[in-house]
């Protein structure tokens, strides 16, 4: 039980107390607070985008920049993995 273990236990207890306190004070499960943007998306997704799937129209049309960033992260991860296992042919 050296100093590092005692510090880790204190840190874990503080994080657990903060999380439990915030879970008690959150709004009840099933009644979201402000949902004007999602109501607009559900009502207008068949005329503006022309798709039946609400989630795909959010991923590719209303929030397309996040998909662009995610494609970049996937490409960087594949490039990193191939680069680690490269064999230099002399």
């Amino acid at each position: 039980m050296n100093k590092r273990d005692v510090l880790a236990i204190i840190f874990l207890t503080v994080v657990a107390v903060f999380l439990i306190y915030s879970a008690i004070m959150m709004h009840p499960f099933g009644v979201p607070d402000n949902s004007e943007m999602d109501d607009h998306i559900i009502d207008n997704t068949q005329t503006e985008v022309g798709a039946d799937n609400g989630v795909t129209s959010v991923v590719f049309d209303y929030r397309g920049f996040d998909t662009l960033g995610e494609a970049t992260v996937l490409f960087t991860a594949v490039a990193g993995v191939i680069m680690v296992f490269r064999r230099l042919k002399k």
């Binding site: 840190f11 998909t67 991860a77």
Partner: protein, 114 residues
């Protein structure tokens, strides 16, 4: 307060993941702890967008009624893919470390420059 059970499941996942990262000496067990924390955060994102008695926000063959919010589900999709990418990179670094040091114990790698 009894209706906040999904939030307590999220807290359980995050605390177990934090315990595995802080108190274990093996590298693979630390990676499993990081994956547990990411699963807890994804579950928390999905439970934020639920309405009482609603169905999926898809119009094909839908049984009518109110629909749940589609934006948190889209954000969770992105988060899951990023978690997979980070996990692949961490595991390839562990294979490279094992080839060089011949051990997976955190206290014995690195540090000594002769």
């Amino acid at each position: 307060m009894i209706y906040n059970i999904p939030y307590f499941a999220v807290i359980g996942l995050i605390i177990i993941g934090l315990y595995a990262v802080l108190f274990k000496r093996n590298l693979i067990k630390m990676v499993i702890g990081i994956t547990l924390i990411e699963s807890g955060v994804n579950l928390f994102l999905i439970t934020l967008g639920y309405r009482e008695g609603s169905t999926a926000p898809i119009y094909t063959l839908s049984p009518g009624g109110i629909m749940s919010m589609p934006v948190p589900q889209a954000l969770t999709l992105t988060s899951i893919v990023i978690g997979v990418a980070v996990l692949a990179l961490m595991l390839s670094f562990i294979i490279h470390i094992y080839r060089h040091y011949k051990t997976l114990d955190v206290g014995k790698i690195g540090g000594d420059e002769e």
